[in-house]
């Protein structure tokens, strides 16, 4: 029999921490600080709109691009929040989560051999999606001494003649790093000078705890070379609704839409109706969730520093990314030992790229009460391993 599976797919390496996840799966009584989704349920008014749309029989396909009313709401929201101007009819499309948008943007823009610069540690899908689109991933190892921000110099050094796209994953999962205005202005200058395109994944943009988030797409000369990706999962606690969106110049968006149209048809209609309510009437809910995350963030950073765990202060998303280098273990060993000895699950930094070695990702999408229980166990673990 011939090999039934594609060589390209087989060559995509499975997550390097498979073993760790196999253990997690068997330990149902562990305290997990490992999730990448909000602990809050979707605000009721959003759920209620979803239900209402169902009672009205809104159960059919929508246009491939998504409901016009939703696209208009997205366009208004982005204008209001981030001073972005996207035409609802030609520059906005609704996708199945931000993750679909990442995939189809790369497929729409890459030819075989084009290089994609991926700063790491970062979300797990950029590399495989680049490879599946025929591109070549080129990694930049972000550094803690730069607060895990991307510098213009690091970008310059990674650019070759084949570079086409820079992926900009800020606010960042897993580090919690943000890029402030002067940081992205420096990046934009390099991007324009080298005629690159940017895929900016701003799924955590509502969750910043310093200055207001600034999108690279709002800088002069950047809109025409940016695919802007966002979604409802993190800001509105809507992970299970699978809804995101992409905004881009129509010349790019048209090609993305082709892939979406053939592979997906359209995003779930119930989610689309609910999302209109999210964008228009949920500022209070969003800000109260953000306030709660911010408190937990302060609490965790403070507690870890008290325990003697070195931890730069993250200003975005809902993760902290402490360094575990002084324990002389790899991230994977550290996470496995913590799980086995104290039954606390955290994610090894290496899940997010080789440069995550020496770190673990700790999510604070948990109640303060839960975090405190976990901290007691982590502290005991650290004591046991100090001076090892």
């Amino acid at each position: 029999m011939r090999d039934p599976v594609s060589k390209t797919i087989v060559d995509i390496k499975p997550s390097g921490i498979r073993k760790f996840f196999d253990i997690v799966a068997t330990m149902k009584d562990a305290i997990s600080l490992g999730v990448g989704e909000p602990d809050f349920d979707t605000p009721w008014r959003i759920r209620d709109e979803g239900i209402y749309s169902l009672t009205k029989g809104k159960t059919h396909y929508t246009s491939n691009t998504g409901l016009m009313e939703l696209r208009e709401a997205i366009s208004d929201y982005l204008k209001r929040k981030y001073s972005l101007s996207y035409d609802a009819a030609s520059e906005v499309m609704v996708t199945v989560g931000g993750s679909e948008a990442i995939d189809i943007a790369l497929r729409a823009m890459l030819d075989t051999g084009d290089e994609v610069i991926i700063p790491q540690p970062s979300y797990v899908s950029y590399e495989p999606c680049t490879i599946l689109a025929g591109g070549k991933p080129v990694f930049i190892n972000l550094k803690e001494e730069n607060c895990f921000r991307l510098t213009a110099k690091e970008l310059e050094d990674a650019i070759t003649e084949k570079t086409k796209i820079l992926i900009l994953p800020f606010p960042n999962n897993p580090t919690g790093a943000i890029m402030e205005r002067e940081d992205i202005e420096a990046i934009a200058r390099v991007v324009i000078e080298h005629d690159l395109f940017v895929l900016t994944d701003e799924i955590y943009s509502e969750l910043t705890y310093k200055e207001e988030h600034v999108s690279i797409a709002s800088l002069p000369g950047m809109k025409e070379r940016t695919v802007y990706i966002n979604g409802f999962s993190k800001a509105f606690a809507m992970t299970g609704w699978r809804l995101g969106y992409a905004c881009a110049p129509s010349v790019i968006l048209k090609q993305m839409l082709k892939i979406h149209q053939f592979a997906i048809m359209c995003a779930p209609v119930t989610s689309q109706h609910a999302a209109i309510e999210a964008l228009r009437n949920c500022d209070a809910e969003v800000s109260s969730m953000k306030q709660e995350y911010d408190r937990r963030r302060r609490f965790l950073v403070h507690s870890f520093r008290e325990m003697g765990l070195s931890c730069f202060e993250p200003f975005g998303a809902f993760y902290i990314f402490p360094s575990i280098k002084k324990f002389g273990m790899t991230s994977d060993d550290f996470a496995t030992a913590l799980l086995k000895e104290q039954k606390v699950a955290v994610v090894p930094g290496t899940a997010f790229g080789a440069s995550g070695e020496g770190y673990v990702r700790i999510s604070y999408a948990y109640s303060l009460k839960r975090l405190k229980e976990a901290l007691v166990r982590i502290e005991a673990f650290l004591k046991d391993h100090e001076g090892a």
Partner: protein
Amino acid sequence: MNELRTKILNYIEDNARVSASELSILIGEDEEAVEKEIALMEKENIISGYNTMINWDKVGVEKVTALIEVRVTPQRGMGFDNVAKMIYEYPEVDSVYLISGGFDLMVTIEGMTLKEVASFVSDKLSPMDSVLSTKTNFILKRYKDHRIIMTEEKEDEREMVSF
């Protein structure tokens, strides 16, 4: 109101038992300043008290809560304040509100038997000179109180680990 007060009050409204040291970490302020501000607000009666939400149903203690709508005649020069005082001075009265709409005062009474509430209404409340009429509503089930949902407990159903 200053920013520190807003931050403190926002948090302790739902978490009265937080210590000053923990609160100062959560809101990113100096511990001593937080402690001082709380003491000051207690003194100024901005923080008027700290209550505990108890789900009495769960321990099988029978409690009766009544919401009594009261229509009264306002008194010259006193408005409703005088009659409100005559009602709220009774220790069994839980709260008294002046209400807009079809009646004037909303009085809540908690922790007594049906019979005791009935006799409070007929012996004390109704006979008051300015009270025109009363309507007593008994609470049958407490679904949500002070932003706390009393009727359901939720498990964390999320996957243990996700990216």
